[in-house]
């Protein structure tokens, strides 16, 4: 848990302290009537003036705070303890306990809270002593629900299952693992209940159903001052102010607690669109349909900018398949997103250029880029479930892609969408177009994504791990489909993946990325048979071999972009490293036409027999 913002904490603290110390402040008796001085203005004896029967307003305010906070604290605590216990039991023990506690809470929740309070007050009669159980009852179901939901979400976590598998007892799991995990939400609920109880107490007292006169209470004070507010508004305004300030600081504390408990909520930086760097004057491969030149992506962090993608260059020709392969943290996905201007809010392209035909995409304004996206340049993503909007029909989402670029009527766009779904191999396309994403299987969803991407016959498709979430037999279908579509439309394909066998299967050329850099780049047949970088070689050896022997592991892990080594990024894990490797970052050198490597020892690897390649 992070630290709680101290300002609301201090405000609530001061109010609580005042309420605690009232008896020792030497204030006038809050119930002593002084009719001759009724509605008198502020004076030295009565700093805030006197009320409609001459009682001291300041004293009544502070005593009112005392009773209000006492009622709120006691009722919230009772509700919290009993409610959390019931919720945890219901959630963890299940069965009959679950039924009794949760259904009972549901029934109590059927009554609007104020109505519930009124009903109980009717039965038990008004008074502060009644208020506490009444309010506790009102807030009880909230705690039950919060605790129950928390337990349910924790109960099916694998680490709880692991403890069950270890034979750890239920009580121990509940105390050690479940309770700490629901502490945050319960704390938030507690501060909510406190603030709400202050409001409800004053409301009931205002109606004459809460604290009984002449005891001081903010609600009673406001109610009483109403009749004289036209002549002297001050006696009305003071309790209004006190009540508002108290609730305001309690609500602020509640937000602060929530912010401290909930790890989400750090606001991302505002997006900066254009980059100041100049267009690098490098010629790009003739006939390339897309060329990325020296692309660097930066993420601004409090500790300064980190660069998860550094000076990456590659290009794809029409009809060609380029694979970008790398492990997590290699920057392969960010590269793809940067091309289409779809980087997440925290990241921005810092340097380089992306040339699509004659156009430079990084400096293009959003409106022009939008006309390209989904038309000439399309992209599909890894998780077809989260990448499709769950609330719109598949057909509608394809129609949207069509109509974003072509002035078609809804009806003819729908017909086209159905035809596209049929083209990507979805059986019974006319009916499936009316399905929602959750009604399709993973493979069908990815087919629908592909249908959407090819809707406007793009010249280039960027596919970011499109088969990673799919089963092998379905992956084979999707790879087959992509190959067919490529052949049909002469479309270029950039295939981003972590799986070398998939690269071998579909790509013409491959870019190997490691820790944000291109380490090797060349034709698939060459790179898979004679890799010229130890990382590529090691990666090939870490895939399980055909003969059933164990794969060879690469020791260590990928460095984080904020902790890059001084020299070659792979040097710390490389068995072939020399001192020179750690001295300076090696440049990307051309070893053969169309084959680049970032290893200073590439000439040695080139002399090795085929299929051995660089040592690892």
């Amino acid at each position: 848990m992070r630290r709680i913002n101290p300002i609301p904490l201090a405000a609530v603290g001061i109010i609580a302290l005042l309420a605690l110390l009232v008896p020792y402040l030497g204030l006038p008796d809050p119930v002593r009537i002084d009719v001759p001085n009724r509605l008198a203005g502020p004076s030295w004896q009565h700093l805030l003036g006197q009320d409609e029967v001459g009682r001291d307003i300041l004293s009544r305010l502070l005593w009112g705070a005392r009773s209000s906070l006492t009622v709120a604290l006691l009722s919230a605590t009772i509700a919290c303890v009993i409610g959390t216990a019931l919720g945890v039991m219901g959630g963890f023990l299940g069965g009959v306990v679950d039924l009794l506690t949760i259904r009972a809470a549901d029934i109590v929740l059927c009554f609007p809270p104020l109505l519930l309070a009124l009903l109980v007050v009717t039965l038990l009669g008004p008074g502060a002593a009644t208020l506490i159980p009444v309010l506790a009852l009102v807030y009880l179901p909230g705690f039950v629900r919060v605790a129950y939901a928390g337990v349910l979400s924790v109960r099916h976590q694998e680490y709880v299952e692991a403890q069950r598998a270890l034979g750890v007892g239920k009580l121990r799991i509940m105390l050690r693992t479940v309770l700490p995990n629901i502490g945050g939400p319960v704390l938030v609920q507690f501060s909510l209940a406190m603030a709400s109880a202050v409001v409800l107490e004053s409301g009931l007292s205002f109606l004459g159903l809460g604290v009984v006169p002449p005891s001081p209470s903010w609600g009673l004070m406001i109610g009483a001052a109403r009749s004289t507010m036209a002549q002297t508004p001050l006696p009305l305004l003071w309790p209004c102010l006190a009540l508002t300030l108290t609730v305001l600081s309690m609500n602020a504390l509640c937000d602060a607690v929530r912010a401290a408990v909930d790890p989400h909520g750090v606001p991302p930086r505002q997006r900066r669109w254009l980059l100041p760097a100049l267009l690098p004057g490098l010629p790009f491969r003739a006939g390339a349909s897309l060329a990325v030149r020296d692309l660097t992506v930066a993420i601004d962090t409090p500790a300064g900018a980190v660069r998860p993608v550094r000076s990456v260059s590659w290009s794809v020709a029409p009809g060609e398949t380029l694979a970008i392969v790398g492990e997590s943290g290699s920057g392969k996905s960010l590269t793809g997103l940067a091309v289409l201007g779809l980087l997440p809010l925290v990241a921005r392209p810092e340097e380089g250029a992306v040339l699509f035909g004659e156009r430079e995409l990084l400096r293009m304004d959003e409106a022009a880029l939008r006309r390209l996206r989904g038309a000439e340049l399309a992209m599909i993503f890894q998780d077809p479930m989260s990448s499709l909007n769950p609330v719109h029909r598949i057909g509608t989402q394809i129609v949207e892609a069509i109509r974003a670029h072509r002035p078609l009527s809804r009806r003819s766009a729908w017909q086209e969408a159905v035809a596209l779904l049929a083209r990507v191999g979805i059986p019974d396309a006319a009916r499936r177009a009316r399905s929602f994403p959750h009604e399709l299987s993973g493979g069908m969803r990815q087919r629908a994504m592909i249908a959407m991407a090819i809707a406007n016959r793009p010249t280039l498709l960027i596919a970011d791990e499109p088969t990673t979430a799919l089963d092998v037999t379905i992956q084979a279908q999707v790879l087959e489909l992509l190959a067919e579509l490529k052949a049909e439309n002469g479309m270029g394909l950039v295939f981003i993946t972590h799986a070398l066998p998939v690269v071998a299967e579909i790509a013409d050329r491959v870019v190997v990325m490691y820790a944000g850099e291109v380490v090797e780049h060349g034709p698939v047949a060459e790179i898979f048979t004679r890799p010229l970088h130890p990382y590529t070689a090691a990666l090939l050896r870490s895939a399980p071999p055909e003969d059933g022997s164990l794969p060879q592991a690469i020791p260590g892990t990928v460095p984080l972009p904020q902790h890059l080594p001084a020299g070659c990024a792979f040097a710390p894990r490389c068995v072939s490293r020399r001192d020179a490797c750690e001295a300076a970052p090696p440049p990307l050198e051309q070893a053969a036409p169309g084959h680049d490597t970032r290893c200073i020892r590439w000439r040695e690897w080139q002399r090795l027999p085929v299929t051995q390649g660089a040592e690892a």
Binding site: D106, I107, C110, F111, P112, P113, L114, L115, L118, L119, T122, L124, V199, S202, G203, F206, L207, G208, L209, G219, I222, R226, M229, A230, C240, L243, T244, V247, L248, N251, A252, P267, Q270, L340, L342, P344, L345, E366, R370, R371, R373, G374, A375, A378, F381, D383, S386, S387, L388, N389, P390, V391, H392, E400, A401, A404, H438, M449, M452, A453
Partner: protein
């Protein structure tokens, strides 16, 4: 199937609520008839108590009472008020539309302000508009409704004399006055509801905007307005509607304070009077009607939810 199941559950809930209300009144210690008659601390005459017990049917067994009570309920008979012998259902249904009107106007005002402002604040997250709107919403949320109402009366009725301080005029008698009298209480209620919708919309939009499907929409080349309306706001409305439903439900009984401040003769005014007069049949009737409405509202919202989020229809 899904709809039928929800309706079934709702009916069971109404039955349970009615039973709880019935039992709560009967099972609390003390004789209801005696409590009703012992206003002012004087012990009531035994004969009068017996007469009231007979009238309320308290002398019969609890099971008989329960059955009679439910037979009455099924035929729409909620009993007779103890204070003026008027029919409870007549009273309740005369006042119900007024409360519903109040809530409807308040909800409309809240939806029309809270949701657009929440969307705008989220899209300009961290900017001056966002901070200003957040501050105002936080403040508005922290002032209890009866304080807002009282202050509105003080400013607009007493000092500026722009609007009537309260009361109620039927629309047919004087439409202008009717609207003027509904306006202030409705705005008072909206002052607590609108910031809730604002906050929920803002949070939901901020959440949805980072989801993958929004990126897909952008990758398709959909125009910004289309992305915001069809892919961000449309999805963000799902939790907002849930919150709206929850709060509308609370308002059914929660207008008590506002009706009291503005002297608005609605349903909850009836309830407060009945509570103060220990008019048990009336209390029972009002609570029951409100609970039924509350359950019905939740049911409607469940159905709306199913329209908004096709995924729940599977359940």
């Amino acid at each position: 199937m899904w709809v039928l199941r929800r309706i079934g559950v709702a009916l069971v809930l109404v039955w349970i609520v009615a039973s709880v209300v019935f039992l709560a009144i009967r099972l609390v210690p003390g004789d209801p008839a005696e409590i009703m008659l012992s206003q002012g601390g004087v012990s009531p005459d035994a004969a009068v108590v017996a007469e009231l017990r007979d009238q309320l049917g308290l002398d019969r067994s609890i099971w008989d009472q329960y059955r009679a009570n439910f037979q009455g309920l099924l035929s729409g008979d909620l009993g007779v008020s103890l204070t003026d012998q008027a029919s409870v259902s007549g009273q309740v249904f005369a006042r119900l539309p007024r409360t519903l009107e109040l809530i409807a106007v308040a909800a409309l005002v809240s939806v029309l302000t809270g949701i657009p402002l929440g969307l705008l604040a989220a899209l300009r997250r961290g900017g001056w508009f966002d901070r200003l709107a957040m501050g105002l919403a936080g403040l508005s949320l922290s002032v209890p409704v009866f304080v807002v109402g009282t202050l509105l009366v003080l400013v607009f009725a007493q000092w500026l004399a722009l609007l009537p301080a309260g009361g109620f005029t039927p629309f047919r008698t004087d439409p202008t006055r009717h609207v003027a009298q509904v306006l202030m209480p409705a705005i008072t209620i909206a002052s607590s509801l609108a910031p809730v919708l604002f906050g929920m919309t803002r949070a939901a939009v901020i959440d949805v905007i980072t989801r993958d499907h929004v990126r897909t929409a952008r990758a398709k080349g959909v125009a910004p307005a289309g992305v915001v309306l069809r892919h961000v706001l449309r999805n963000a409305l799902i939790p907002v509607v849930t919150v709206l439903a929850l709060h509308l439900g609370t308002l059914l009984g929660g207008t008590v304070l506002v009706e009291y401040v503005f002297n608005y003769p609605g349903l909850s005014g009836l309830l407060v009077d009945a509570v103060n007069a220990r008019d048990y049949p009336m209390v029972q009737g009002v609570v029951l009607v409100i609970s039924v409405l509350f359950v019905a509202l939740n049911l409607t919202m469940d159905l709306v939810y199913g329209v908004l989020d096709p995924r729940v229809r599977r359940a």
